[in-house]
Amino acid sequence: MRLVEIVVLIAIALAIAFLITVGFKYIIPLTSVRKIAEFYLYATYNSFKLENYTAMSPEAVTAIVWDFRGLDTLFETSVFYLALIAGLALTRGLIIERAESSGYGLSVIVKTVTRITAPMIVAVGASIALHGHLTPGGGFQGGSVIAVLPMVLIVVFSAGFLVLRGVTTSKLIIMRSLGLFGIGLTAIVVFLAGLATSVPAYVFQNMIKPGTGVSMPSHISGVLISGTLWFFNLFEMFAVAAGFSIAFIALMLAKTLETEKGD
């Protein structure tokens, strides 16, 4: 039995190696850029020749995710929100949020190191999210980095640590809803401005487009914010970080209640 397993493993490894060796000529990405990629690279940050089509963001991925195909990303965010609502509905009635003594957890060394690294995690996450229109990253990336922090705190301190500090699931749901509200508002803010000044404008419009009269500002006091992209990243960061934190707190507290019932 053991020999069979080893043979299977070697066969898999050889197959992958064979594929990589033979596919060397075919799998390798082309050195030339495809037509559609050429268009995106040309239009992403081009205020000189394409001032009616550009997204004014040096980061092509964020420009595509939140500008060129912004509606898709909006629905992805709502799918995540609905999944979270379903998860919370499963643990409904199992969560009792009350303060418990914080004498549990790992050793003092681990706790101290966690206290030092906790602000760093938040800083890295915020940096990834808020620079999402300049460097690789974005709202979802930054938000999930920040969401690692509640998990670390729950493991290192105790299941009720966050609740003891006032971070309850209802507050996190409010934070998540505010993030989603901000995303929705950013999506229609140019449209509303167009309505107010009675010039044509689109929903999900970022920079000025042909046939419209209003535009998001690409710079605020000389700092590049790429119009809606910075706001989308900011609100998405809050929504994702709060969403993952709700899941962890709900799972952990539902567990404590279950063990108490068993006693």
């Binding site: 397993e5 299977v8 493993l9 898999i12 490894a13 992958i16 190696a17 990589i20 060397f24 390798i28 990405p29 991925v61 964020t62 990834i128 690789p136 990253g137 974005g138 979802f140 990336q141 999930s144 980095v145 969401a147 690692v148 998990m151 493991v155 993952f244 899941a247 962890f248 799972l251 952990m252 567990k255 279950e258």
Partner: protein
């Protein structure tokens, strides 16, 4: 001397091979906690692949989700159920 591009593809091939082995170990492992760790190892190797394939955006979301959050949730769920896989 290996030229730079070939070296990168060679590194990608090695990383993919190790990740395949990690997946195999994760599937065959009866101890679910160790299976979760093998799965996280595979995710970490995939992050290297994403980085080498010039997709750092995916890499940035893959590290916290696949190495941090999903193993965390799985470990919580394992602690609520059973650690050893039965026949």
């Amino acid at each position: 001397m290996i030229p730079g591009e070939t070296g990168i593809y060679l590194l990608m091939a090695v990383v993919s091979l190790i990740s395949v082995i990690a997946v195999y170990m994760a599937v065959k492992e009866r101890d679910l906690v160790r299976a979760v760790i093998y799965s996280a190892l595979q995710s970490g190797l995939y992050t290297v692949l994403y980085f080498l394939l010039l997709a750092p955006d995916i890499g940035l979301v893959y590290i916290p989700v696949a190495v941090g959050l999903i193993p965390g949730v799985l470990l919580i769920l394992i602690s609520k159920t059973e650690r050893w896989e039965k026949e």
